[in-house]
Symmetry: C2
Subunit: 693 residues, 2 copies
Amino acid sequence: MTTRHVPDDWTDLDTRAVDTIRVLAADAVQKVGNGHPGTAMSLAPLAYTLFQKVMRHDPADPHWPARDRFVLSCGHSSLTLYIQLYLAGYGLELDDLKALRTWGSLTPGHPEYHHTKGVEITTGPLGQGLASAVGMAMAARRERGLFDPETPEGASPFDHFVYVVASDGDIEEGVTSEASSIAGRQELGNLIVFYDHNEISIEDDTNIALSEDVAARYEAYGWHVQKVDGGENVVAILEAIEAAKAVTDKPSFIQVRTIIGYPAPNLMNTGKAHGAALGTDEIVEVKKILGFDPEQTFQVDDEVIAHTRKAVERGEAAKTAWQAEFDQWAADQGEHKALFDRLTARELPQGWTDALPSYPADPKGVATRKASGEVLSALAPVLPELWGGSADLAESNNTTMKGADSAGPKAAATKDWNATPYGRTLHFGIREHAMGAILTGIAMHGPTRPYGGTFLTFSDYMRGAVRLAAVMGAPVTYVWTHDSIGLGEDGPTHQPIEHMAALRAIPNLSMLRPADANETVFAWRAVLERQTVWKTGPVGLALTRQNVPTLEGTSYEGVTKGAYVLADFDADAAGDSSDNKVILMASGSEVQIAVETKALLAAEGINARVVSVPCLDWFEVQDADYIASVLPQDVQARVSVEAGVAQPWWRWLGSAGRPVSIEHYGASADYKTLYEKFGITSAAAVAAAKESL
Amino acid sequence: MTTRHVPDDWTDLDTRAVDTIRVLAADAVQKVGNGHPGTAMSLAPLAYTLFQKVMRHDPADPHWPARDRFVLSCGHSSLTLYIQLYLAGYGLELDDLKALRTWGSLTPGHPEYHHTKGVEITTGPLGQGLASAVGMAMAARRERGLFDPETPEGASPFDHFVYVVASDGDIEEGVTSEASSIAGRQELGNLIVFYDHNEISIEDDTNIALSEDVAARYEAYGWHVQKVDGGENVVAILEAIEAAKAVTDKPSFIQVRTIIGYPAPNLMNTGKAHGAALGTDEIVEVKKILGFDPEQTFQVDDEVIAHTRKAVERGEAAKTAWQAEFDQWAADQGEHKALFDRLTARELPQGWTDALPSYPADPKGVATRKASGEVLSALAPVLPELWGGSADLAESNNTTMKGADSAGPKAAATKDWNATPYGRTLHFGIREHAMGAILTGIAMHGPTRPYGGTFLTFSDYMRGAVRLAAVMGAPVTYVWTHDSIGLGEDGPTHQPIEHMAALRAIPNLSMLRPADANETVFAWRAVLERQTVWKTGPVGLALTRQNVPTLEGTSYEGVTKGAYVLADFDADAAGDSSDNKVILMASGSEVQIAVETKALLAAEGINARVVSVPCLDWFEVQDADYIASVLPQDVQARVSVEAGVAQPWWRWLGSAGRPVSIEHYGASADYKTLYEKFGITSAAAVAAAKESL
């Protein structure tokens, strides 16, 4: 299994380079005293082959749109990637490898997007990389459809592949099971996954927890499955890649049996080689076996680095050849080129907001999920970059743009959905976690703007993906409907209580809970404007199932600031002083309650201001003057009204304020009964206001 | 596919009963105006066969320990269960079915444990039921091992089966993929899953999002797989169950092809039959087809209910027969019987706390994860009901009891782990979500006490399961280690920032973050005492990777109250007044910083009290006097110190208080550098105290 088998054009320098990788991996972890050497050692031939022999990429231009993507799903093996970036000439140098896992280095514990050139996506939480790669492969197809739909397969300047290296951990995580099933359904021929089947994880031999036939499972998903028996068999790896590329209607799964930590004589094939330094004695043995000087560390022969840095020239040549194709395409397809330029700049088209609906004030009102659906349908012709769908709740989440085709092969079509490869309605099935990761992958891949919907409660299922999107600042939008007990009869398992708090707690995720139809329009507008800058991060829209009144006084400017005065203190109120003033803060469907409460309080001689709070995350970063203008220091009587736990509101309530909240689970009944029974009412808000005064 | 095929002993009354189910399901949803009729109609023969012909159960004693368990993983089809409970005589009556999904009824939207007799587990969030059923099957084996290890298979009074009905949604969710892989590895012959393969979900034909060969996937997991072509084929269903029972070393997967909504002439086999009332016209047609009076609603013939209620007699007879076996076992195995009684009462053994370690004050200290591991090993011989493991992080989470065997078949053994079917170390693989659901299933099944570990960050992956455990109040313990930036080099993807806030927000989940080794011991003690009452809910322990000093003054009583004075104001401080007093609140590894800060402030003439806050959830439910004794009203200068977002602390900080917190993601470096760079230091706490004064 460890016999080297290399192709005819493979040189001794290639072999030396591969062995250099192993030695660098062992040395780098040893130097800092912690990290993951084993997989970087055993994957050296595969990673080297991909970066030096297979992938189309240009180290000088890591953003080349037609580059093949590389996703290291097993992010803990970050050295697998860092060493390739170093060898290929992406800007990492030996000192960077020596600084592994230390403050400020370009080589943190796990690969971080925005931080190290050539890292396509932040990985580490297992499963996310592979699942997001499915999104990348889907994005590649959609972008192809937007920019160059007519050119035959394989002949477009936008055609390329997505390569993934995944570990046992990635394979075990449910998110990859979900995403791989979707990839099979989607017939993603541009996706090639290597499963590093080393049968070792942290608890050592995976047999203790893994007995399934993984390859058979991927066959069941409809993938093209191959096996390579031995990580040193470069010939078989290359043949498998060629075969994978030739199958254009199935994603490819290549199971490579490797020996973790190879060739460490005592530690290879053990859990100890996975996540700890090998120790100097063992590293000396490795160096002896590979013909390196056991006295030296970080030994890289000049000829080796000169050899591997030829990747820069090859990249330049490939880019030049591609540029000619691209220029030809640009000349032939002016309209597509204009779209490409606009999207690449993340610009919105002139006058796009003219398409947005607006709603007259109306006590009966509209559900905010419905308004959201109307926004999406209105924007469909204006913003072709906008696309998305639902985890099997399209009609409930109102995520389908009217008249849009579904994204998928013809074989996916049903009597309700017309599927075409370049379609824009996404169908995730009941797979929220994969949806989250796929949306991230779409955003990572290119300039389109993805969204995805489920019930707000089931944001829990996708939280791993949401967090990673937030870490990267990926501009994706979650359409989370049925955002409170207001969903009614489905009961406590479906009613969000803690979710607004739990999601607001995530740094760099913006949670919007619009009060009515117009605030929903403003929310979408604000999100799309904001996401013209990539790093601004994901956004969650929390939307009602039930109708809410369309209110007077809502404002786009106000929404962009996160909170604003919807209805101010009555200027001419009798006995106006800070002693009888109270501020009523509310979000979403509870803003109407704050409005009612203001009127009730006025009747009792209490002067109230209603502050609509669509986004606490945006409010808290406003300047102090603005915050004080909305929540003046001299009015300490404050009430928050939100049908969820109060945790996020205390900061703004202060010592005197009182929340109207729900601190327990919901129940199954019609929503009006629930609001009454659980005390999310204007009567409760009046009582809280009096207590606060 | 809809041809009826029934066994010889099946009577016309049985057929009428099955058709009664369909009519009741349609009527109940129609009456309330919302709900899920379609699956309840098409699963009528299967559900009826299980409850009336197959399962060993006693409607008079829903807690009979040897009953077969029934898990309706597709909880939205709650009528499937409610109608069986009604027919079999569990206490539901026709009026309860008429009250479907209304306030206070016994028939809420989704089946709720603790609420409706005969409901084994709350379901609704898809995938959780099937995944928890894997835990039930594992628990059945462990309990068997604790109470009756010697009796041959099938001959023990504790032997029984776990039946599951799962839908397309359950099958698509990643959590079932994870759990099903574990079930295969564990060779759970006592688990029988029916996959209701109706090819319809909310977005109609599942072909739009599901093309995999599900049966082949389950074969790849190592399950025994069978297919039944048609939900009306009772003969085939019965044969498949017999075959499933006969295979004792594999879980069974029985794929039943049904037509959702059968026999509704216009709506069957459509998404519309899934989640909405059929409409009166369609229901009239159904009644005509089935020979019911189209003018009547909720029509149940007297002979039908008399026939089905014979389940009570059969249950009594089965129970009586079993009781003889049980009494014989009790007589033969006094020691096991004593254990059975103690565990069933959820009592802890006399003097069990004597086994707990305690630690001398020590500035170098111990990591709290290590102390937790020592608690577990110390309790191993005293509490056989305690068992658990990790999602492939055993050594990092310190979740393995010294000398304990692993739970699993011989075939799962590796050189590091000795697996036996009655072992107590659990190996979940890298499958956090399934771990969560399995732990819940273990707690639902019987009286053992399960725990499971991963990194705190990856609580995100298991959040769906954690929430459902909290909804039910299930007594499980999560060992979440590496609880802050203190984990160091693994960087932002692995460093919890928002997790304490996000988990504290979940109602009925207690989050403990002990300050040192002794508080860790007290935390485990408090949790085990607390969970002598079932409904008290799950607990998460947030534990450090890094060493923390073992402090003076920690207290068991204090831990049980959630927060307590660790080091009080200096009584003899010069110029003692509320003007120079500040309260320093901290949790976990930051309590040491609060202690340092007190000394620094004293040197500046500021008198500080240190409050250790191991559990905000427990503190906030203390009486007002206790809360005021810890946080006196006249000291409004307050500082919180926690290496995470401040959100949960504002309630206790009030208007004058200041948090020392981290509101952004972490970084990859050694932990001491990170604490310095991110300002989680006594210097920052001193500055915050001054600002607060």
